[in-house]
């Protein structure tokens, strides 16, 4: 009887642990191994030591991808600022506010490929942005937005921000609703303006949500792929202008069949992500200590 009781927790855990073991833990171990090999998926891997990593150091596209991924992180503070503002606006008890809240959420559920395609056509040579700018007389010939090397990344980032605001503002809205009303009353009595009220009460009150969103949106930014894939029609953009870490990983592994080399990129991505998470946790702890 006791023996059976002891087995029970492990039986409950078994399916999840087995699945995560096969599809997460094993691949992480394997990707480490592959990163030290020359591997094209078809023939068996050949051990080459650190050659892949040495090659990475001299690979201009890799450095470009790394830079792009770091630039992409600028999405995080922008998203936080805008979605906190939006949350403050939709926190007002206005008639029909639920309809607005639902509307803002639409991009988050529509799927990255669908919204990516919509945006790709917004910025097409024949797209509506050119149409509007021409009508206003701001430009005279249509611009090939997504064929401009300097614009691919900013447009992708804009897309990520646009799609994310509604989603993240729901998190901030929940945070705002947990802040006791008395704090706002006290601020009002102290003569705070509307802006000061939010600066001194809402922002500190939203700290847990801000940390949470900072973590998940920066991890998402480091992993961006779908947006680039659709906006550049799976090319990565002219002169690799839109190539990010994951895009380069995908290109090396699944279009060029350089699985070993791609595994090395994956290891670098993992290292960056870990470093990032550690920094995030440290910041979180320091803030807790400040209290």
């Amino acid at each position: 009887m006791t023996a059976r009781f002891r087995a029970t927790p492990y039986l409950f855990l078994l399916p999840a642990v087995a699945l995560i073991g096969v599809f997460v833990v094993y691949p992480i171990v394997a990707v480490f191994y592959y990163s030290f090999t020359d591997y094209d998926i078809v023939r068996p891997p050949v051990w080459i030591g650190l050659d892949n990593f040495r090659k990475l150091l001299g690979d201009g596209t890799f450095w470009l991808a790394l830079t792009h991924s770091f630039v992409y992180l600028l999405v995080t503070p922008t998203i936080i600022a805008l979605s906190v503002c939006l949350a403050i606006v939709v926190n007002r008890k206005l008639r029909g506010i639920h309809i607005f809240r639902a509307l803002y959420f639409v991009p988050a559920v529509s799927g990255s490929i669908a919204i990516g395609l919509a945006w790709r056509w917004l910025f097409d040579r024949n797209g509506i942005i050119n149409g509007v700018l021409q009508t206003l007389g701001i430009i005279h010939t249509p611009i090939q937005w997504l064929a401009e090397p300097g614009l691919v990344l900013p447009i992708a980032m804009l897309l990520t921000i646009w799609a994310g605001i509604g989603y993240y503002s729901v998190i901030f809205l929940a945070g705002l609703q947990n802040i006791p009303e008395e704090l706002y009353d006290a601020a009002r009595i102290d003569g705070c303006s509307d802006f000061q009220k939010h600066w001194h009460v809402s922002l500190p009150g939203l700290r847990p949500q801000i940390v949470f969103v900072a973590v998940i949106s920066s991890l998402a930014a480091l992993k961006v792929f779908d947006e680039i894939f659709v906006l550049t029609a799976r090319t990565g953009g002219i002169l690799d202008s839109g190539v990010t870490m994951v895009f380069y990983l995908w290109k090396q592994a699944f279009t060029l069949q350089h699985a070993g080399y791609a595994a090395a990129i994956a290891i670098v991505l993992l290292a960056i992500t870990l470093a990032f998470s550690i920094v995030n946790v440290r910041l979180l702890e320091r803030r807790e200590a400040d209290r």
């Binding site: 492990y10 939709v90 607005f100 991009p107 799927g111 998190i171 699944f254 994956a266 991505l269």
Partner: protein, 317 residues
């Protein structure tokens, strides 16, 4: 004198209301205001006072909705309606469903739908079950290795999924032999550390006394879990299920690596194929996008409440 009182609320509110009736009666001595009229009046005043907020809200909404609206309108454009013109034409002059017909004729969109539904339902059902199972001992049982298991699961949350794709691809081709079939997309999504984490939070909120009482009554752990705990955490189950469904429905990268045969594609993969197929035929692409967005939007409208509640609850954990 009534004014500052009414602003404070409470008893003052009633006084203010009386005052309002009195003023109204003085201004319009002919009409005696009914409750409904008064309410309508207050609503109008409220709308006017908040007009600025509505302008802001509408502006954000317009930016959010415009790309979708533009897709919908373009998908209805006839061949005589220009795609690019100065000034741009928004409303189709010759509305037609021909673009939809063309998309349906050239790509098996309905098959994509069917595949997406099969994948999303299988992933959601099984993932929720597996996560709820794993979460119970992690929340409510004492056993060797509990902490280690929990932290190992948490650690996998940090790892970007994409870096598992190379070995997973090789597994799919060499070991499981399910390349280009739906199980290739379903199986790797059946367990999620994040969902286990959320369900663990839900189970932890249940008082131990309840579980102990059931155990004393002779219920085994499986019965306790299935008949007592699961019904209690139903709201969390719903939130986790909806999230998993939407994530699975929109998942692109892994399915695009696994599914190449047109009869096996899910919607996002098919949509990317559509972009390649119609390349510069914007009307057809718009029709394809509209067809894939509308069902998930309808789903979202139905389950909206749970979605928001789940997202809000995730942070507290």
């Amino acid at each position: 004198m009534t004014r500052p009182l009414s602003e404070r609320g409470g008893a003052g509110e009633a006084a203010g209301a009386v005052g309002a009736v009195a003023t109204a009666a003085v201004l319009e001595p002919v009409a005696i205001l009914t409750g409904a009229q008064l309410r309508r009046r207050r609503r109008r005043r409220e709308l006017a006072a908040n007009a600025g907020w509505y302008v802001v809200l509408t502006f954000f909404a317009a930016i959010t909705v415009f790309p979708f609206l533009w897709m919908l309108l373009t998908s209805l454009k006839g061949s005589a309606d220009p795609i690019a013109s100065v000034p741009p034409q928004l409303i189709p002059g010759h509305p037609t469903l021909a673009n939809y017909q063309r998309v349906l004729d050239s790509l098996p969109i309905l098959k994509f739908f069917q595949n997406s539904i099969v994948v999303a339902i299988a992933v959601t059902g099984l993932n929720v079950l597996v996560s709820a199972m794993a979460a119970y001992p992690l929340a409510k049982m004492r056993f060797r290795g509990r902490e280690a298991t929990f932290y190992l699961l948490l650690a996998t949350l940090i790892v970007p999924t994409q870096l598992t794709y190379i070995p997973s691809f090789i597994l799919a081709v060499n070991v499981f032999h399910y390349y280009d079939t739906l199980p290739a997309v379903i199986l790797p999504s059946l367990a999620s550390a994040f969902n286990i984490f959320l369900m663990r939070q839900a189970f932890r909120a249940i008082p131990n006394d309840l579980i102990d009482a059931a155990r004393v009554d002779g219920a085994g752990e499986w019965r306790v879990w299935w008949q007592i705990l699961l019904p209690i955490v139903r709201p969390s189950l719903a939130a986790v299920a909806i999230f998993t469904f939407v994530t699975s429905w929109n998942d692109f990268l892994w399915p695009s690596l696994m599914l190449h045969d047109r009869t096996q594609m899910t919607l996002p993969v098919g949509l990317a194929a559509l972009q390649g197929f119609f390349s510069s035929d914007f009307r057809s692409i718009a029709a394809g996008v509209t067809m894939t967005v509308i069902p998930i939007l309808l789903f979202f409208i139905v389950v909206q409440r749970y979605f928001v509640r789940g997202l809000a609850g995730a942070v507290k954990g």
